[in-house]
């Protein structure tokens, strides 16, 4: 079997939100499989420690708030031309619909979708995305199966899914592919603001037919595939990865 088709060797990849959780693992997996990566996040200390865990190479790190749209030019300027982009940075705000506040709505849309749309536009304008590149969005299974309190978050991720499909269509003539990953529950820092107790979490885990929540590596391996040449004919796909959660 030709395993080299799964390799990311020689590829240069941007992973947003790679200072922790899923994005951190995606960056490390890319590094381990031969890619040169650009990692980003606001927390410089955590970003530095991810950088230090990468295999040696010409990797770069950029720290800043992606919702500070003017600063995105700085990021685009320091970047090498890209063979892969992983739009992973994101936040959660749990609030029942009756309690949604306009400032929270603005913030979560800025971080989860607007920053992405603006960043992609800037990357394309500055010709930082190579022909044949692969763009991967980290959305959520919650766009397929709703959960209480996540309306704002789900609305942003639904926007991600729709935007990604339009992008896939417009970029296909350049040979640039765009796909979306829909993870189920992966315990990471994003859940720190959650309202579930350990017992409630254990109860929720029973909704996963595979018998466990995901871990960042589960997601990173799928992303690796989507970034690699093995997935050359895939574009515009929304791919659930959720231990069977959405089956029930």
């Amino acid at each position: 079997m030709d395993n080299t088709v799964f390799s990311l060797s020689q590829k240069r990849i941007l992973v947003t939100g790679s200072s922790s959780g899923i994005g951190q693992q995606i960056a490390l997996t890319c590094g381990d499989t031969g890619a040169t990566v650009c990692i980003t996040g606001r927390d410089e200390e955590r970003l530095q420690s991810v950088y230090a865990s990468l295999p040696s190479g010409d990797h770069i790190q950029w720290s800043g708030d992606l919702a500070d749209f003017d600063k995105l030019d700085e990021l685009v300027d320091v970047l090498f031309p890209l063979d892969g982009v992983v739009l992973n940075a994101g936040m959660v705000k749990t609030q029942p619909v009756q309690f949604i506040k306009s400032e929270d709505l603005d913030r979560i849309f800025d971080v989860n979708i607007k920053s992405t749309i603006i960043l992609i536009q800037k990357l394309l304008k500055k010709k930082k995305i190579n022909k044949g590149a692969s763009i991967v969005f980290i959305s959520s299974i919650s766009t397929q199966k709703a959960t209480i309190g996540n309306a704002m978050y789900n609305a942003t991720k639904g926007a991600v899914n729709s935007y990604a499909k339009s992008l896939a269509l417009e970029l296909a003539p350049k040979g640039i592919r765009v796909n979306v990953v829909l993870p189920g529950f992966v315990p990471t820092n994003i859940l720190n603001g959650g309202h579930l107790s350990a017992e409630e979490l254990a109860q929720h885990e029973k909704n996963y037919p595979i018998g466990r929540f995901g871990n960042p590596k589960d997601i990173a391996f799928l992303v690796q595939y989507l970034l690699s040449d093995a997935s050359s004919w895939m574009t515009g796909s929304l791919i659930p990865i959720d231990g069977g959660f959405s089956l029930k």
């Binding site: 749990t94 309690f99 209480i148 309190g149 309202h195 107790s197």
Partner: protein
């Protein structure tokens, strides 16, 4: 504060005439669910301007203890 809080709780539980007392363990109400849980936290923030940290909130069992936690935080505002 007590009566106003009881009224808010009834609204959250969508149980207009519910008997509520300070010793009630609110998570044991038959109307209690995850939406009620989130709505209670949001109501405390909206109505009293205080946020009870998650870890502390999870440990509070009774309506009375919850009111006390809100009052303590309001006093230190």
């Amino acid at each position: 504060m007590k009566d106003q809080f009881f009224e808010k709780l009834r609204e959250i539980l969508e149980a207009e005439d519910k008997e509520i007392s300070l010793d009630d363990k609110f998570r044991d109400y038959e109307e209690w669910d995850s939406l009620a849980n989130l709505s209670l936290i949001a109501t405390i923030d909206d109505e009293y301007g205080v946020v009870i940290p998650n870890d502390e909130f999870k440990k509070i069992e009774t309506v009375g203890a919850l009111i006390q936690a809100i009052e303590t935080r309001m006093a230190s505002l």
